[in-house]
Symmetry: C2
Subunit: 183 residues, 2 copies
């Protein structure tokens, strides 16, 4: 019995992966669905008595410029202009991650955060394949009409294609912000 | 800080709901996908250091006679015949639940188990609505060609319609039993 307990106590941390997005208003405001997903992790999944047994892997997928709207009118005349633009994009992404890392720090839960680039649904599945988390958590706006938007569309794809268990934290329709831009 | 810790320590148990099915071979053998789902709960989700903080709600939905194959040739001549058939069906269901309850007992995790009747996907969503678990766990055979079967078909429906977060434990194709009846 003592042996069994000892074997159990060295079980590796539960790795919980969370893909986060910014609100429709843009960086650095996190989307309501991503905040909901972190809330669920911190208040439901994690047990306060063994916080040390979890690690939250947080990442944000930035969509390459050709799919974006910001900076569409920018004219780049030098390589430095382009480099500076990339740096700005990265800084915006980092500012978004900051919100999530700060909340994990406040909750005293181990975390790791990074930025990726590409088609969100494909990158999320690729990251899950590489990191093999015990659980992938995705927020979803839970609205059929908005399912084309970042998280909604990605979450159903990932639920079917990610190589690990996926939990989608759907938002209750009553939680829809009165100003859609707050989403 | 002490107050905060105290508030955290009285957080209610995490209620994890698990819908289980029997193997294609029939009662009382549990399906591979249901066993996988319980394995994930016991080895990944539950942290050994705070087992007391979880409660597993296990139920099995029995499909009413008109959809079954067993007892198709039975002829009921008395009310007692029918009652006896119902009793048998119930006993078979209970024998299936026994496997899951036994494993929870062995793992020293609080659980509760019951039988329901009806269309599995609708009943699963109804039970989730009534019990409001923190997480609904469903096993899935993970095979497109078998998705019409009990769990596969139900799991995607429940992921979209259950009023709580749903995690689907898909089986790796390599885990497919060589004898399909062992499924």
């Amino acid at each position: 019995m003592a042996e069994q307990e000892s074997a159990e106590s060295i079980r590796p941390k539960m790795q919980v992966m969370l893909a986060v997005s910014h609100s429709i208003k843009g960086y650095p405001k996190p989307s309501v669905s991503s905040r909901n997903a972190l809330d669920w992790i911190l208040t439901k999944l994690l047990r306060p008595c063994c916080k040390k047994e979890y690690k939250i892997l947080i990442f944000h997928v930035q969509i390459p410029d050709e799919d974006g709207y910001e900076d569409m009118d920018s004219i780049y005349t030098t390589v430095n202009d382009i480099r500076s633009h990339h740096k700005t994009e990265k800084q915006k992404g980092l500012a978004l991650l900051e919100y999530f890392v700060k909340r994990c720090n406040e909750a005293e839960v181990d975390c790791e955060a990074w930025l990726s680039k590409g088609d969100p649904k494909l990158v999320i599945c690729k990251e899950a394949k590489e990191r093999q988390p015990d659980l992938l958590v995705l927020g979803s706006r839970g609205l059929g009409t908005l399912q084309r938007m970042f998280v909604g569309g990605s979450s159903s794809y990932c639920a079917k294609n990610a190589p690990c268990p996926v939990v989608i934290i759907r938002r209750d329709p009553s939680e829809t912000p009165s100003d859609p831009l707050d989403d």
